[in-house]
């Protein structure tokens, strides 16, 4: 059994990463410097950010912390191999912005102290990352970026890639681009994220990767990401229907995947 509480006591992003099984050293890449600063235990910016977010949220939304605990405990009581982390993810997502505090508290290992077996803990991590991504609160982005880059489990990195792609600001885009190189151990997760980042540079990088990919499985995954990013359905959302960047993305992808 691996417990939350005994493992983590400090409100640092490094602790978040430790809890999620992250590696100690930052991955190489264009974003390495920024992430390195973020995950240094003594890195004041992030340390203060996470701690201050949780503190402020606990004051502003004490009920959300209580609800979070109830959701997790009910989920634990209903554990079923067929109906697992999706159930938790859905419940946490519906906490909305008020859920960011308790969720960050939980990934830091201070908010939910019940001992969990490794499998359950992994499922909970996946659900937390996914729910934080769905909520799209910018306060969670530093943690999500670091989790994407450093989480030990592939499943968590993939979910984190999608989570940051939902926002896909400049920092998130840069991070995904930096990790998308073929040789990078995080490339699959990055490609998954880029395929959901509705930004022209994401499409352009995917096109380049598609052209250079040798491995058929990798090439298919990139093509799938390109289809997703250029999907008419995605760009049919009322607020995006006339988005010029969307039109440009579709052109780029059409040139890459269309008949030569």
């Amino acid at each position: 059994m691996v417990g939350f509480g005994p493992m983590i006591r400090a409100f640092t992003l490094a602790c978040v990463l430790a809890l999620l099984g992250c590696e100690a050293a930052p991955e190489p890449g264009r974003h390495a410097e920024a992430v390195s600063a973020a995950v240094t235990p003594t890195g004041p910016a992030v340390d203060v950010d996470v701690r201050s977010i949780v503190r402020a949220e606990r004051a502003a939304h004490p009920d959300a912390f209580e609800l979070f605990d109830r959701i997790v405990r009910e989920w634990l009581d209903r554990r079923d191999v067929a109906r697992n982390e999706a159930l938790l993810s859905r419940g946490l997502r519906d906490l909305g912005d008020a859920g960011v505090g308790p969720m960050l508290d939980a990934v830091a290992g201070t908010g939910f102290a019940q001992p969990l077996d490794a499998r359950t803990q992994a499922a909970m991590h996946t659900a937390l990352v996914e729910a934080l991504g769905r909520i799209e609160d910018p306060r969670a982005l530093p943690a999500l970026r670091a989790i994407f880059e450093r989480a030990e489990q592939q499943s968590v990195r993939t979910v984190a890639a999608r989570a940051i792609a939902r926002t896909c600001g400049d920092l998130e885009l840069d991070l995904l681009l930096a990790h998308a190189e073929h040789a990078h151990p995080n490339a699959d997760a990055a490609i998954e994220g880029l395929g959901r980042c509705l930004r022209l540079p994401a499409a352009e990088r995917l096109v380049a990767l598609h052209e250079s990919a040798q491995d058929p499985a990798r090439k298919a995954a990139i093509a799938s990401a390109l289809r997703r990013i250029s999907s008419d359905l995605v760009w049919r959302a009322p607020s995006r229907r006339n988005d010029p960047e969307g039109a440009e993305i579709r052109k780029v992808v059409a040139r890459a995947l269309g008949p030569r």
Partner: protein
């Protein structure tokens, strides 16, 4: 060589004179004919429940057109908690009815010194047991007996049973019984063989007549009460039974790996009902089979405790030890075990299950299902895109008595669902504010954020849009599979629109999906009734748009359509009405499962 032709021996110089024993044609020895060797090895080859001369036709080879059948005697007719096939005792008249008869007809004028030898050829002799009848008594045989002159003069009746259900590829259920008769000098008078086969288990399909509907009884739970009330009303209306399973019973509550004891509302998942059938004289002999599923949980122990008994057996076909947390474990649930109703080449239907890549059925369960030759091989659909992974989430089958086929496939239609929402807004931009899931919560019912969402908010969710487009691709794959493998055509499908929602629940974090709007494909149907989850979609003119479309399409088939609020206990916990119910059905009398013999 399996096929052995019975031989007609012309006994030159024989005292009784020339005789004729034909293995083909409508004949066979008639004991009243002088000079004919009247012994005949007789089984119910023509499957009419009677042993007659007509059974000699085609007796050497078991095939779709003919061949005698015997049952695995897995029920417990003396109700002692031990399957009848486990002991070597015929436990009363009911047990005797489960035996298939093998007759050596009488040859009253058999000369003294004439003897007979019975032989058994099978790869699995330990899986069959023979009894010999003497009046009302049946005595187990350690081996097939040598037949004395008196036996041949008076005739002998044997009974045969299988000791267990077919379970693997090592034995397909066939046995060959031989009879050799020799005179006092040892000269061969007769050699004859017949081939019998143990009955395949058959799982009745959703459009087959239903006798019982099961629902777990979580007595304290109001949401479970809603479903039970609906099932009670509907079963009463059509005059069949309902069985509310006491899920608080300590013996078969769900026990999770940490020892938590949970009443299990997923009735569809923890067991399935099958049956084996043997032709009888005027009525088939049927043994129900409760298939315990969802290992290693205790929920399915229900079948052993409650269903196992007179005319009902049980089986628990899983690896031991069983890894209950492997990715594919969810596929070993009853919701992932469906049957495509009868179609060309499969007069008793075909097993349909979801699998994919590394997410596979337990190998013992798969072997067990593949051994049920009447409905095998398993038709495998890709359900790896589903969080839960059960085939009943995406496709189902309902009666359609007006059609030639008699049934239709109900298939998820996410693209249409999305288009319906877009259409609402195109019709009137104010419809973007219409609310789905009005007054509902995804997590308990008080104090938590509402599940309510507007049409406009859904249409803005690009991840949801992409997920539903992908879901449509998977639905199209299932449709193509059914068209290719079962010969369905466009008109055989009924499309039920609802949306899916993605979660990163695959082992590598890949997205899998679960019904976002209650999944109406996951419906319970029986005897003209279709009971579906209430979709809680946007309402226009006071009517739920998804409910209206779904109702219209199913009522057009003549079904009595009933929507049930299954939100709290089922939908929000990733299941629907079908997941929460189980049925016991019988295959229609006109369906002779053996016609599909492979």
């Amino acid at each position: 060589m399996r096929r052995t032709v019975a031989i007609a021996w012309l006994l030159a110089g024989c005292e009784a004179g020339p005789y004729r024993h034909e293995a083909t044609g409508d004949g066979g020895p008639d004991p009243t004919d002088a000079g004919v060797i009247a012994n005949d090895l007789r089984v119910d080859t023509d499957r009419d429940g009677r042993l007659t001369r007509a059974d000699d036709v085609g007796e050497e080879t078991w095939e779709a057109e003919g061949g005698a059948i015997f049952l695995a005697n897995v029920d417990d007719d003396d109700d002692d908690g031990i399957a009848d096939a486990v002991d070597a005792i015929v436990n009363g008249e009911a047990d005797a009815r489960d035996l298939a008869h093998v007759e050596i007809t009488a040859w009253p004028s058999a000369p003294e010194g004439t003897t007979g030898t019975l032989s058994l050829v099978t790869v699995a002799p330990s899986r069959v047991r023979f009894f010999r009848q003497a009046g009302a008594t049946w005595t187990a045989l350690a081996a097939l007996p040598a037949l004395t002159t008196a036996d041949l003069q008076g005739g002998v009746t044997l009974g045969v049973e299988g000791t267990a259900l077919l379970s693997d590829s090592l034995w397909d259920g066939r046995i060959e019984i031989g009879l050799a008769v020799t005179d006092a000098a040892g000269a061969a008078l007769l050699e004859e063989t017949v081939e019998m086969r143990q009955a395949s288990m058959v799982i009745a399909w959703n459009s087959a007549p239903t006798t019982i509907v099961h629902v777990s009884d979580l007595g304290w739970n109001a949401d479970n009460q809603i479903l039970r009330d609906a099932v009670q009303q509907a079963t009463d209306d059509v005059g069949i039974l309902h069985w509310f399973i006491n899920s608080g019973d300590d013996d078969y509550v769900y026990v999770d790996p940490d020892g938590f004891r949970i009443a299990d509302q997923w009735t569809q998942d923890f067991f399935e009902m099958g049956a084996t059938y043997m032709p009888g004289d005027g009525v088939w002999q049927r043994l129900g089979v409760g298939i315990r599923l969802k290992p290693p949980q205790n929920s399915g122990y229900f079948v052993e405790k409650e269903i196992f008994g007179i005319d009902n057996g049980h089986v628990y076909p899983f690896s031991d030890p069983y890894d209950g947390w492997r990715d594919g474990a969810s596929l070993d649930y009853g919701g992932n075990l469906e049957v495509v109703p009868p179609h060309e080449g499969y007069p008793a239907g075909r097993i349909l299950a979801g699998t994919h890549g590394n997410r596979l059925l337990d190998p013992v369960l798969e072997a067990f299902l593949q051994a049920q030759y009447a409905q095998a091989p398993i038709l495998e659909a890709d359900t790896n895109w589903l969080v839960v992974g059960h085939i009943d989430e995406a496709v189902g089958f309902v009666e359609d008595p007006l059609s030639e086929r008699g049934w239709k496939a109900t298939l998820t239609a996410p693209r249409e669902a999305w288009a319906m929402l877009e259409g609402l807004v195109e019709d009137d931009p104010d419809n973007a504010d219409l609310v789905l899931f009005n007054g509902l919560y995804f997590w308990t019912d008080t104090g938590f954020p509402s599940a309510e969402i507007t049409v406009g908010e859904i249409l803005e969710d690009v991840d949801l849009a992409a997920a539903n487009e992908e879901a449509q691709g998977h639905a199209d794959d299932i449709k193509a599979l059914l068209m290719t493998e079962a010969g369905l055509v466009e008109g055989d499908f009924v499309y039920l629109p609802f949306l899916w929602e993605p979660y990163g629940s695959g082992p590598s974090g890949e997205l899998r999906q679960v019904a976002y709007i209650p999944g109406t494909v996951n419906l319970l149907t029986f005897n003209g009734v279709a009971m579906l989850p209430e979709p809680f979609g946007p309402r226009v003119g006071g009517e739920d748009v998804f409910e209206r479309v779904t109702r219209d399409r199913l009522e057009a088939l003549g079904l009595d359509v009933r929507f049930v609020d299954n939100w709290n206990l089922y939908h929000r916990l990733l299941g629907e009405v079908h997941c929460g119910t189980q049925t016991d059905r019988t295959i229609p009398r006109e369906t002779a499962w053996w016609d599909s013999a492979r």
